[in-house]
């Protein structure tokens, strides 16, 4: 299948009728679109035309009533239409699918109806031929291998995880394409019949006294197993839903990577500012508490000087006191002829000598000197009580000042980061914050649900084993009334075993074929000469091997994509269908080297490739240079308003 012309009328943001002509030559076309401009809607126009479905985030179906172009405030459902012209096997087709007003069918709940027309080589096909032709050209079940979001290629990694619910879904899709459902459905139908037969076996056993208790046990075990099976199914659905939600959130965050890192930096800086503000406040409070003693520190040098002076005065006054006391003793002895200390009489010549010794100066008054001494001691004591730690106050002042400077610097940086974020579309920062929060919350719920699922699966296994054990026991006992039911159970057990073996055998053959095809593609795509081949596991997960057969561990995300593309290519080759590859966000998670690999890979897989990147997703000149002559066309999605996008030729101006 090769797409030629896409005509869109009032679909999503594509207002009016817009015509898009695909390049006629084999190769890669680029359609650039900023976030919200309508890349996914463009992919959906083709999905709508081919399959009549419109998918939103995470592969959820969008109701057709909300697809028609309308103003934000207009609540009314609007009609829309897509016409796709393509060629296949030398025939030309024009497929038109419309959602249109239906005035002739007032009973219609919406007042709208869907019309589909397929014109083949100029002839309009009738409904039966039309549906048969469409199912043959490109069945919806394999759409994921033609119209896909590259961000979701990571889901192929799930094929390598035993027991992964997403991997199981994907495996089912792969096997549907490859024709396995004929066998698996037969096996599952037989399993259902077997469960019914065991219930009948239990009923029959309950009628016989000899087996009544065992029949009761089998009935209870069957009911419990059935309930456990329903629990597992519900949890599988829930896990898939949560995983889809988490993938979508990651994808959204990835497409806002630039703003995400800015928000991250802004949030980190905001936290830092909060910490610094707290520190600054603490330092300021500590300083304020200490600053009350500043006056003491101001006086400290004066007090120190004064203490020295008072100490010197004290020494001098002590000496004066000693002199005054000595003078008074001498005077007393000379006058009285008796020593005032030992009370002995003094000889006349000694008394004369003491009298002569006196130099005639007036001795100081002892009491007055003692009073002076007391005053000086009191001053000294007062001065000594003055304690001031000026160094501590100064250090606290330094710390408070530094904390203010640090805070001011951080606040300036925060303002700059905020200013950069303010240039983003309104609400970006809030949205990213909300997305990050939602992702964290979803991942927690997902982990918890997976744990519950694992426990419930184990529970189901135990209950199934109990059912088989009771059923087998009953069969061995065998009563007259339950013989037919026992034989039926045995027949179905044998048939089920046969179909299980058949499914396994068919799967083995398919896996061998897919492994060979995927390895051939991978070898053509891989730039790493040491990577020799791919090995497939029972879930169709592919592992890269060295020539020695050793597994390549921890392969890069780029190689994950290449491996996924190899699998898609192999499935396309093993499928009778062939068609274009149209991918949204083709390079979102890849580094430049792997973007280059993908650019190399896609034209190898399909003749017609359309990539829908956003502007920052890949460097345009590099991409065009890398594609060389495989680059065959380029368009961009121009915003007219929030609800109006126009497809225009060329890159963004």
């Amino acid at each position: 299948m090769r797409l030629q012309i896409l005509e869109i009328t009032d679909f999503g943001p594509y207002r009016g009728t817009q015509r898009f002509e695909f390049a006629a030559e084999p190769g890669v076309e680029l359609v650039w679109g900023s976030n919200g401009r309508g890349k996914t809607s463009l992919l959906n126009t083709m999905r709508w035309a081919l399959f009549g479905t419109v998918l939103g985030r995470g592969g959820r179906t969008i109701p057709v009533t909300s697809v028609g172009n309308r103003e934000e405030t207009d609540p009314d459902t609007k009609p829309f239409r897509v016409a796709l012209t393509f060629t296949h096997d030398g025939h030309q087709y024009r497929l038109t699918r419309a959602y249109r007003n239906d005035p002739d069918h007032p009973a219609s709940t919406s007042g709208f109806r869907i019309t589909v027309s397929l014109v083949k080589d100029g002839d309009a096909l009738g409904p039966i031929d039309r549906d048969r032709e469409l199912a043959r050209l490109l069945p919806e079940q394999i759409a994921r291998f033609f119209l896909f979001d590259t961000e979701l290629l990571q889901e192929y990694e799930q094929l390598l995880t035993p027991g992964s619910e997403a991997g199981q879904k994907l495996k089912d899709a792969i096997e549907r394409i490859l024709g396995l459902p004929v066998l698996t459905q037969a096996r599952d139908d037989v399993a259902t019949h077997l469960a019914d037969a065991r219930r009948a076996q239990a009923k029959a056993a309950q009628k016989d006294k000899a087996t009544q208790a065992l029949g009761n046990d089998l009935q209870v075990a069957s009911e419990e197993a059935e309930q456990a099976r329903r629990n597992v199914e519900e949890l599988v659905d829930l896990v898939t839903e949560l995983k889809t939600e988490a993938d979508e959130l990651e994808k959204t965050l990835t497409s806002n990577n630039r703003f995400k890192s800015q928000v991250g930096a802004r949030n980190a800086k905001r936290d830092e500012v909060e910490r610094l503000a707290t520190r600054s406040k603490e330092r300021a409070e500590a300083l304020a508490a200490a600053a009350g003693d500043t006056w003491r520190a101001v006086l400290a040098p004066l007090v120190a000087r004064e203490l020295t002076a008072v100490d010197i005065q004290l020494d001098a006054t002590n000496q004066r006191l000693a002199s005054a006391l000595a003078a008074r003793q001498i005077a007393t002895a000379a006058a009285s002829g008796v020593c005032p200390t030992c009370r002995q009489t003094i000889d006349a010549d000694v008394a004369q000598e003491l009298h002569d010794h006196h130099d005639g100066t007036e001795a100081e008054d002892v009491e007055q000197v003692q009073s002076e001494l007391g005053g000086l001691r009191a001053r000294r004591d007062t001065l000594r009580t003055m304690r001031a730690d000026g160094a501590r106050i100064a250090r606290l002042e330094e710390e408070a000042s530094q904390a203010r400077v640090d805070l001011s610097d951080a606040e300036g940086q925060l303002r700059e980061l905020q200013a950069e974020l303010d240039e983003a579309p309104p609400g970006t920062a809030e949205n990213i914050g909300a997305w990050l929060g939602a992702l964290a919350s979803t991942n927690v719920t997902l982990d918890n649900t997976r744990r519950r699922l694992s426990e419930t699966r184990n529970d189901l296994q135990r209950k199934d084993q109990a059912v088989v054990a009771f059923s087998e026991k009953l069969r061995r006992i065998g009563t007259a009334g339950s013989g037919a039911e026992d034989r039926k159970v045995q027949l179905l057990v044998d048939l089920h075993a046969l179909l299980v073996a058949a499914v396994d055998e068919f799967r083995d053959r398919l896996r061998d074929a897919i492994e060979d095809e995927a390895t051939a593609v991978f070898r053509a795509l891989s730039a790493e000469p040491d990577y020799d081949r791919l090995r497939i596991n029972e879930n169709y997960g592919l592992t890269i091997l060295y020539a020695s057969g050793t597994e390549v561990l921890n392969r890069s995300s780029g190689y994950e994509h290449l491996v996924a593309l190899s699998l898609i290519a192999a499935l396309q080759r093993r499928s009778p269908m062939s068609g274009p590859i149209i991918t949204d966000n083709p390079f979102g998670r890849l580094d430049p080297t792997h973007k280059k690999h993908v650019l190399q890979a896609l034209p190898e897989i399909a003749e017609q490739v359309m990539l829908l990147p956003y502007e920052d997703e890949i460097d345009r000149p590099s991409a065009i240079a890398e594609l060389g002559d495989r680059f065959v066309g380029e368009h961009h999605l121009r915003r007219v308003s929030g609800t109006h996008t126009v497809i225009e030729p060329g890159a963004y101006p």
């Binding site: 600053a291 500043t294 520190a297 101001v298 007062t382 009580t385 003055m386 160094a391 106050i393």
Partner: protein
Amino acid sequence: MSQPPSTARTGGRVNIAFTEAAEEAARRLVNRFPFAALVDTARVGAAFALREGMSLSRPEDFGPANGSNFNVGSVDPGGDLRDLLVALHPQIQEDPYRVLETLMSQGVLAIDERVASGEILSLRDLMGVEIST
């Protein structure tokens, strides 16, 4: 040694106040430095005046001390400032709190002037201490 001031020891003086100009200066200092209240600048002003050897006598152009009234118990809760004044200047005859009232106004005006001239920019400058950081 230190005792709460009593009216007996303060010569009956209960309140002291800045002059109008000094109060304006004191308010600027409260805004400029991490002092909790105006009364902190009163203590710092008096201490600074003492350290700088400013006259204990009230100059003729001192003007009326009609700024906010501080209870002497607020300015000098333990009497430390008064005791220190007396220890440094035992010769003073005047009521110590009247002397301190003079010194605190003179001191804050002097500090405010040096702040304005850039000579004092921090508590460290004010304290005149050298700190190794």
